[in-house]
Symmetry: C2
Subunit: 281 residues, 2 copies
Amino acid sequence: MAQSKTAQNKMTKDVWKRFRVSPGSPSDLSQRDPGDLMLFPDRDEAEKQSVKDGEIIDKLQDKLYAERKRALLVVLQGIDTAGKDGTIRHVFKETSPLGVVVKPFRRPSEVEAAHDFLWRAHIAAPEKGFIGVFNRSHYEDVLVGRVRKLAPKDEIEARYDQINAFEKILAENGIVVLKFMLHISKKEQGERLQARLDEKKSRWKFNADDLEDRKHWDEYMAAYEIMLDRCSTRSAPWYVIPADRKWARNAAIAAIIRTTLEEMDPKYPKPPWDPKSFVID
Amino acid sequence: MAQSKTAQNKMTKDVWKRFRVSPGSPSDLSQRDPGDLMLFPDRDEAEKQSVKDGEIIDKLQDKLYAERKRALLVVLQGIDTAGKDGTIRHVFKETSPLGVVVKPFRRPSEVEAAHDFLWRAHIAAPEKGFIGVFNRSHYEDVLVGRVRKLAPKDEIEARYDQINAFEKILAENGIVVLKFMLHISKKEQGERLQARLDEKKSRWKFNADDLEDRKHWDEYMAAYEIMLDRCSTRSAPWYVIPADRKWARNAAIAAIIRTTLEEMDPKYPKPPWDPKSFVID
């Protein structure tokens, strides 16, 4: 038992180290293998571990909610079909919708677009006691924004520091920020897009625009790399998660979220009054 | 198999009939037993059925989301400790936080209180494709509002029709509204409050205000009865769920939500284009 706990801790440290983009160091995206299974060689074991981590996440979320002092923000970014929805479905399978609030970032509405680009992200920041999940995020404004030239270049250049300042504000106010890039290969994306076309039940997910974006694959990867290089900070680090295998992706993300919550170590509050001072009749 | 399906359907019809407040008929709250186990005599079976219903709810929610045309709004009301949080935790255990949005109605904020009482409820109405859960709701304004005299009497009297009009608007715009009163006995509430005091892990949930409200038990029940009598409508019926036994409560609510979604019968959209017209390279 003690040994398995140690093995577990070592594994977790390896996950952190292997996937984290060290603040200040180049992310070397092209050197990161989307099919990397080094830490999760066995599918069955990885799936079992994810379920266990999910149960622990649920328990810790309940304490976080009781404590009402801090929050966790999970940012999910990735190219189309990278598995953002699937990650949420699997990692938070055990966590009640009571404590997890998911915010999808779609094309900005007219009202959103009339504000600065971080306005809608700040509004969606999780309340104390909650886990917030950004399904896509404010990073779209330096990804699609950059590739599709949706704003002048100097405006986009200025956004990286603005994002870092924004996330530092969150972090200094008790919101722990975890950012995951779901990293898939171009080949894997091709297969997933084809599967969406082939399977009747998933055909509705197919969007012809995704093919347009696919043509800009290299530009997107370059934009991701700049984002990782400039915005992996001590307050809010980026993790690049190998995501060609869904089970390995889920296992890595669940492990990082679980350990983050364990380090936050939320506690059930101890009210200052004496329970015997109340009489219920 | 066919027979068990028929038995299941019969059971579901019984659940609807037994717990629904027929629009236009008196709710007879005092005649409804919070400990009623007539439909769920066996705990094991009820729990198994809830899990099964939860899985079906998850599958149908995915179709609802894909379809993006309609939504389901689940309103949960009940006196303190009636089990609103527990209901959400259990009934939506299998449903991903991707598709379920929970809105807790606490004491109105200054901004909320500066608007009409239905303003915050309308803002929180679920987006098409989602299941929205109101944890407490706009009905607080005719419950605590009435008992604690938070508004002039004629204003409160006018609210019932306003609520009906509001819910009719939602229903006519594709939002199916299900309203559940979690009905517990005064004795059961006493035990649950005492348990909150006794168990260290749940002590933080105890609120001395709840004891204040408990002193007004009969007035609250009278306010609930008026609400049921006036606001169980064809567009948005009320169900009074016997809630002294948590597993019976979960089983009843899961069954009603499942069947409601089955009747809505959401479908994966069939895109108008030919999948062969796309080439992925």
